[in-house]
Amino acid sequence: MNFNLSKHTKAWLQLYFAFLAIFMLAACSDQNTQSVSQRSIIYCSEGSPETFNPQLVTSGTTIDATSHQLYDRLITYQGADNTIVPALAKSWHVTRDGKKITFYLRKDVSFHATDYFTPSRKLNADDVIFSFNRILDANHPFHNISGGIYPFFQSVEFENLVDSIEKINDYTVRFQLNRADSSFLANLATDFAIILSAEYAQELIERNTMHDIDTHPIGTGPFKLKEYRVGSLIRYYRHENYWQENAQIEQLVYDISPSKTSRLTKLLAKECDVSSYPIAHKKIIERPDLTLDAVTALNIGYYGFNTKKPPFDSKLVRLAVSLAINKQALVDTVYQGEADTAHSILPQTSWAYDKNIPHHEYNPNQARALLEVAGYAQGFTMDLWAMPVQRAYNPNAVTMAKLIQADLKKVGIKVNIVSYEWSTFLRRLAQGEHQSFLLGWSADHPDPDNFFTPMLSCSATETGNNRTFWCNQAYDDLIEKALKTANVADRKSYYAQAMKILHDEKPLLPIAHSKRYQARGVNVKGNILANFGGISFYHVFKQAPSEATTSAATQLEEQQ
């Protein structure tokens, strides 16, 4: 049976479906959330922070989430050359023997006022003393609160270096050192040396919730914590009484998205403004509404030799093996061109980098000749330990090991690639069971000493950090002299000499300084990435969409 509907009914039906369609598309206008989103930034981060106190960790994720957002330091780094400038301390004075350092604090610095704490006073000397005594003094009530481990400060032997911290008056603090150390100021300017509130700590003791000091942070930084949901989000609001100019954005949200593809999707769908560690760089560069930021990080990926074990106890063999490796091919393949080729352990961006350092040459013939002189005319068999995990300084050690294997085969050296689970790998390396290995180092602060002493000094062979077990008195003397002086030109010359020794002795072959990437919408302006340490959203702001499109168009025109 068939029914013929009148035009009238047909019209109603059409209206019904049209209404449904309009209803569904109604929200698809671009204006939605604009005014809130204009004042806020959503950052798609790669993981949850372990704590909100950077004193307690060295993990990059935690530092990125906390250090520059929530806190300030006495002094800080500024500019491309990373000079140390005043922060919470408006000035400082170092005595001639380098053992007494006096900081003069700013007077008008407020702590965060949040749902869980309202400060009654401004920053003073007590807060500085509290923050550092927590680390130094094992009997301090807060020392053991989150496990009593302060990895960065322990690695630089802070407690042996600092004898005492005195309060001269409310706004003057003096550090008394056991010996002069020119990296001391650099250490105080790192992301780890943050200033906490002593008043808040006192209140937590009274409330008997001392653990809150690291989970409900109070700092002086440009943002304050509003909400944290593990594995989901961190919500910061602008600190309205910041001692410098207030941050331009009102709200900063960390959208915790551990999956790389979901971060990319959210970036493409404009659900996040900035994304950490992006994938698909080409796709991002192609899009006119996105930009890809890259900075060369202060790190080094290298191929190290165990100088205590044959055949690498012979300098000639180390030189020969280095000459036989086509370093450029390693950088091109493993880092896919996303890294700078290393000429020394020090990155080119460091102020102490010496441009005159000879570059690596690839010369298999000379390598064969050297091997013959060293008594290995027939070649030899050796082990190469490749790290099992992906790190910024070496994203794929196993591939790199295979390339080295192929290169060395050409000069008659047979290479066995060895790999262990990461913690076993590090433990066995520290015990010196290896012949040669692929590893790297990421700097905690831009002072060049952070590369020289922990990686290659004689004392580092004892702590197991110097996995080449290379100990050279001349080198050690140079880096010690460099630490004792505050004169930059002198330090530079000492470090240049030290680099020369490394180049001649070849305890390791520097391979690459990798880059750190970040993607963002073109309308997000201001610097976020630094070439070391954590990110900062203090100077970030959003351009109105119309301006952003115009500037993208201008950029495009400029490129053409």
């Binding site: 049976m1 068939n2 029914f3 013929n4 509907l5 009148s6 009238h8 009914t9 039906l13 019904y16 479906f17 449904l20 569904m24 109604a26 929200a27 698809c28 939605n32 959330t33 005014s35 809130v36 989103s37 806020s40 959503i42 509003k226 909400e227 989000l233 919500r235 709200q251 949200v253 959208d255 979901s262 999707t265 959210k266 493409l268 769908a269 404009k270 659900e271």
Partner: protein, 342 residues
């Protein structure tokens, strides 16, 4: 109606007992200690363990143990999640509303689109529009939901940039949870950006709800079509035609109402299907609902969460079934006399 209600209630109680028995037995079937599987306390000290054994009557026979388990459930204690060590009942209360919201919106969408299309197909029986609608329905029914979800994200979120790809609401909005149903919570909140948030929540639900709605919508098309064809063939419609009523009058006054009654019975049945689709969709769209949580629990071997989650979810679906039964009975007095439930 009273007897009908009592029958349904007893059916509910009995089915729930069977379900709890099943979930209780899962505690023994999963690897590890049954008491720990039921309570989720993986870091219990020996003293706590003794207390737990006592609370769950672990040394008594199975019937006593089951009774102890049942009393825990009745008191709202579903144990702790093994992975996050938070009480499962609070997690469920937080997550279930999101799933309900998504499923209800999807159901409405499926009904609003599917039923009228089905009716049109029936009215245009064996004509081109009928065939087109049926073919589209067939196509929609055969598309796997995960593929459709990813395709929708690719097209509407990434390429066109119209709709968000993940979550329930932009993280920029701070809305306190009161009812758990986000749209109500937004209306109840005193945030100055209330309307922006409402619009944003609408944007967020469109893609996942449409993906969930597709399969049920196609079923509704076929159901509505079959039911309408059946109604239009009845003698009272023929009589109405013979009396000279216009096509509009017949369809709107007589046919639609009678056809709808038959469809409503199936809505409840479709709901279980819909929740299953919603669970997969939640994973694709990072929708913070119970389905995503349950699937993550399976990945993490969180046995306590799996058994309690399944219990809560099946209980919820069962309640929906009973409610549709009531609704049907209210609309159709003939159904009340039937002795057995649907």
């Amino acid at each position: 109606m009273l007897i009908f209600t009592l029958r349904r209630l007893s059916l509910f109680v009995f089915t729930m007992l069977v379900l709890t028995l099943l979930s209780f037995s899962l505690g023994f079937l999963f690897p590890g200690d049954a008491v720990i599987n039921l309570s989720g306390q993986i870091h219990a000290t020996p003293t706590q363990l003794a207390e737990l054994n006592n609370a769950y009557q672990a040394d008594k026979n199975f019937i006593v143990q089951y009774w102890a388990y049942l009393s825990h459930i009745v008191n709202g204690d579903l144990g702790l999640s093994m992975s996050s060590q938070t009480p499962i009942s609070s997690e469920v209360l937080k997550l279930l509303p999101a799933t309900i919201e998504l499923s209800l919106v999807a159901l409405m969408l499926a009904m609003l689109i599917g039923i009228p299309l089905g009716f049109i197909a029936a009215i245009r029986h064996n004509k081109t529009s009928d065939n087109v609608i049926l073919s589209v329905a067939m196509l929609g029914y055969s598309i796997p939901v995960f593929w459709l979800g990813l395709l929708a994200i690719l097209l509407f979120s990434i390429t066109l940039g119209w709709l968000p790809s993940a979550g329930r609401l932009s993280l920029l909005f701070e809305i306190d949870m009161v009812t758990g149903i986000l749209f109500f919570d937004i209306l109840l909140s005193n945030s100055p950006e209330k309307w922006q948030a409402f619009q944003d929540a609408t944007m967020h639900i469109i893609l996942p709800a449409s993906v969930v709605a597709l399969a049920p919508a196609t079923i509704f098309i076929r159901l509505a079509r079959a039911s309408m064809v059946e109604v239009l063939a009845t003698s009272y419609i023929r009589a109405a035609r013979a009396k000279g009523l216009s096509a509009q009058q017949i369809i709107f006054r007589h046919a639609i109402r009678n056809a709808l009654i038959k469809i409503i019975r199936h809505v409840g049945l479709q709901f279980a299907n819909l929740v299953t689709i919603a669970m997969v969709t939640e994973v694709i769209f990072s929708w913070p609902g119970i389905g995503r949580w349950l699937i993550e629990s399976i990945y993490q071997r969180d046995y306590t969460a799996i058994q309690s989650g399944l219990l809560v979810l099946s209980c919820f679906i069962f309640i929906v079934h009973i409610l549709t039964d009531f609704f049907y009975a209210a609309l159709n007095p003939l159904a009340r006399g039937k002795k057995h439930g649907a």
